[in-house]
Symmetry: C2
Subunit: 204 residues, 2 copies
């Protein structure tokens, strides 16, 4: 069942994934953040919830072996492989039109929020709000006083993570369009991402 | 306009608050966690969002001077006074029926999730999901590796926080029913909370 897709820089896409299937998200440049959500196919309001994910894993960050939980406390995804230094961000919001205005952008600027809604609309779904995202490859270190920073990814070209679906779900990904801050690398240039859907044990 | 209410242990309530008005939440025993949300009166789907709150404050914790932001990036609340040691939790989910089942409870157990939905229903509102809560008085320290703990509150009897509304909103509070873990104090006994609605500058 192996299927490989290119998710173009600054764009979003959603993939219907059945329980037990896997998605490998490969970062060809190593510097691209991927905002990630899951919606249960049996109920799109039962979406991935970072507050339940942190609660179940008792950790701020997302790492191999941990699970993404839904707002109704159902396991949605397990990260079964990760070649990066880890510490994927669960803390910060997806970027949005409002954030680009705060950053001084005038006119339209693509955002992870827009990408999320476009991607689920392509599957006939809509939500009246934007859930918090799991921010793969995103480097948000936290200091002792709780303050947090936004730094370029620590991953290398070709690094990848693999998520196994624990239920039938829509996996929503956004190759973050952020080009004002260095969150997508010091070059401030969004990059393409590769998404490979495959069976567990099948090489990505 | 001063109004004082008792929020009984393990129960929730919602209060319509106009922009500029204040709510002082007083902890008579010092040990009671209060799960807190805001819904915009002009659009209940524009609710308090911890991921935007952390982003705007660039901090994990919530402290005096910080703002609660909505999922559409509007300022909702500002904490203008805090007599506690600070570091209110923004990380963990409200408790729910599913969590009490995980903790081994059988039968019905009140939860902050149930309190949230009951409280907004009393104002004619419903939401098909439960937003992440701001957990006032809740003590969730974070270690260097990102792991987090659940400890009794550090506040003292009579400690209080004051929130000023930055828009017309419904302030939803739950005196957390958690009696299995020590998050509401080592006695594991939920307690009453006092809620005082007042004008800014008016003594609570």
């Amino acid at each position: 069942m192996r299927e490989s897709h290119i998710l173009p820089a600054a764009r979003g896409a959603a993939y219907a994934v059945r329980a037990g299937q896997c998605a490998t998200i490969r970062n060809p440049h190593g510097t691209q953040v991927v905002d990630t959500w899951a919606l249960a196919l049996d109920d799109p309001f039962d979406h991935s919830a970072m507050e339940h994910t942190r609660s179940v894993n008792s950790n701020l960050f997302f790492e191999a072996g941990q699970r993404v939980m839904s707002v109704r406390r159902r396991p949605m995804l397990t990260m079964i492989d990760d070649t990066t230094p880890g510490h994927h961000d669960t803390l910060l919001c997806p970027c949005s039109a409002e954030i680009y205005r705060e950053l001084g952008c005038t006119g339209h600027h693509r955002s992870c929020t827009e990408n999320f809604h476009e991607a689920i609309a392509a599957h006939g779904l809509s939500l009246p709000f934007t859930p918090a995202s799991l921010n793969l490859f995103m480097n948000v270190p936290v200091a002792f006083d709780g303050s947090l920073d936004r730094l370029p990814p620590r991953s290398q070209p070709g690094d990848r993570v693999t998520l196994r679906a624990e239920m039938d779900l829509l996996l929503v990904l956004s190759a973050c369009p952020q080009d004002v801050t260095p969150i997508n690398g010091s070059a401030r240039t969004p990059r393409d991402i590769e998404v490979i859907l495959h069976a567990e044990g099948e090489e990505a």
